[in-house]
């Protein structure tokens, strides 16, 4: 099949082969989002960059304008949003980093959570694209966590104290020469794990959804029940969007917390 496509001949390809193309096309950064042209001939690099910009603008509108900061007792949408902000601050950041550091770093993790959640959810709207399903995007996001764990923590604690987090107590000196590089390598491994986890989960969900809908495309109306399944998968994807935003934020906070407070 690869040879067929490589030859540039689209004729005679089966529906299944076309489906492969559809799926690949759907999860790849493309030229259009909601029918709007993006990509190389515009200033936006890909439609996924544009999706991130849309999410950013939405977040600015939601938290900058709609969220009423002066309400003594929050009501309506503010109350709804506050639940999430409180959850991120209390259950994710403070739970992993302690009261003092947690409050200091909470803005970063609030941005993480809502940005990733926004990208995940935007990708679920038909005609859109999932920026967090692109490994370059998740690499940049995980890179921010890596910066926080290295440069951020060094600024916060000082280089000596930061380095001491990678030198476990009560370990003989020769073993330290083995363990400390491993611990330092752990930072990179954690970053890569963050990157792949978010990317793979978001992309896989879309492939499953497309395979379900693809059943109807390949089999015809006989496979109409697959539409019901794809709705169920869609519901699952909405849950996964929240779950992965939570997991990314939680693990980032946990990793940063373990660098800032190595004893825990």
């Amino acid at each position: 099949m690869q040879t067929v496509i490589a030859a540039g001949s689209y004729e005679g390809t089966t529906k299944a082969e076309k489906l492969t193309e559809y799926i690949m096309h759907h999860v790849s950064p493309g030229e259009k989002i909601f029918g709007i042209k993006s990509g190389h001939d515009t200033i936006f690099h890909t439609n996924q960059t544009l999706a991130m910009l849309i999410v950013s603008v939405l977040l600015l509108i939601i938290f900058g304008a709609i969220y009423k900061k002066n309400q003594k007792v929050p009501t309506g949408i503010t109350n709804f949003l506050e639940t999430f902000v409180m959850f991120v601050r209390n259950e994710i950041v403070i739970a992993n980093m302690g009261q003092e550091d947690g409050r200091k770093w909470a803005p970063l993790f609030c941005t993480f959570f809502f940005f990733v959640l926004g990208c995940n959810l935007l990708g679920l709207i038909p005609g859109s694209t999932t920026a967090t399903g692109n490994i370059n995007v998740t690499a940049a996001l995980a890179g921010i966590t890596f910066f926080a764990m290295t440069i951020g923590a060094i600024i916060a604690k000082g280089p000596g104290k930061w380095f001491s987090a990678f030198v476990p107590h009560g370990v003989p000196l020769p073993v330290l020469f083995l363990i400390t590089p491993l611990e330092l390598l752990g930072l990179v491994v954690k970053t890569i794990a963050l990157m792949i986890r978010l990317f793979a989960n978001m992309m896989a969900g879309h492939i499953v959804l497309f395979a379900m809908i693809g059943l109807i495309y390949v089999l015809g109306l006989v496979a109409l029940p697959a539409a019901g399944i794809s709705f169920a998968v869609y519901g699952l994807e909405v849950f996964v969007a929240f779950l992965q935003a939570y997991i990314f934020t939680y693990l980032s906070a946990m990793f940063l917390g373990s660098v800032l407070h190595p004893d825990h």
Partner: protein, 201 residues
């Protein structure tokens, strides 16, 4: 029978859908994503440096702007509200404690007042009783003294009367005897004699 035939026919096709998804994944993994016309395009797993920098830039700018317009006011507002609630709760607890203390005190005051009043009433009653007794006793004593005085008066009046009666009768007897004897018996000898006689009577 018909259904079985459809399922049998569909089975291969279902498998082909699974294969399609599998092929798509494999191509993504091996960076062989094509655009449907055989042209190689960037897949979601293909390294794309501008995409990386775009994300970094968007995220950092978003973080900075959101920090300014959203997170700082929102999080400090949350802290403020938490403090207010904590303070209110503490205040309420303190107020409850104070109220309980005041209630206790007022109870004590009322009890004290009651006791005082009781004592006062008892004292007043005792005083009144004592006073009444005193008055009664005094009255009794006075009555007694009045009676005694009266008796004494009667006694003295009686003695006086007796005395005067005696003197009168003596005079009368002498004058009578004188008249009878035609002689004035009114001398010292006769008087003493008469008095002796009267005393004998």
């Amino acid at each position: 029978m018909n259904n079985i035939w459809i399922i049998a026919a569909a089975d291969g096709k279902v498998k082909s859908v699974g294969d399609a998804a599998h092929d798509a994944l494999e191509k993504i993994e091996h960076h062989e994503v094509t655009d449907g016309h055989g042209h190689h395009v960037k897949g979601p797993m293909d390294p794309d440096a501008p995409m990386f920098y775009w994300t970094l830039g968007i995220f950092i700018v978003l973080l900075a702007v959101l920090y300014k317009v959203a997170w700082k006011p929102i999080l400090s507002g949350l802290d403020e509200r938490e403090d207010t609630i904590r303070k209110s709760l503490d205040d309420a607890e303190e107020a409850t404690k104070k109220l309980a203390a005041i209630q206790e005190e007022s109870k004590k005051v009322v009890a004290d007042a009651e006791q005082n009043a009781k004592a006062l009433v008892t004292e007043a009653r005792d005083t009144a009783k004592a006073l009444a007794k005193d008055i009664e006793e005094k009255a009794k004593a006075e009555a007694q003294s009045v009676r005694d005085g009266a008796l004494k008066d009667i006694e003295s009046a009686k003695a006086e009367a007796m005395q005067s009666l005696r003197a009168e009768s003596t005079d009368l007897a002498i004058s009578l005897a004188g008249k009878l004897l035609g002689e004035n018996l009114d001398n010292e000898k006769n008087r003493s004699l008469t008095e002796k006689l009267i005393n004998k009577i």
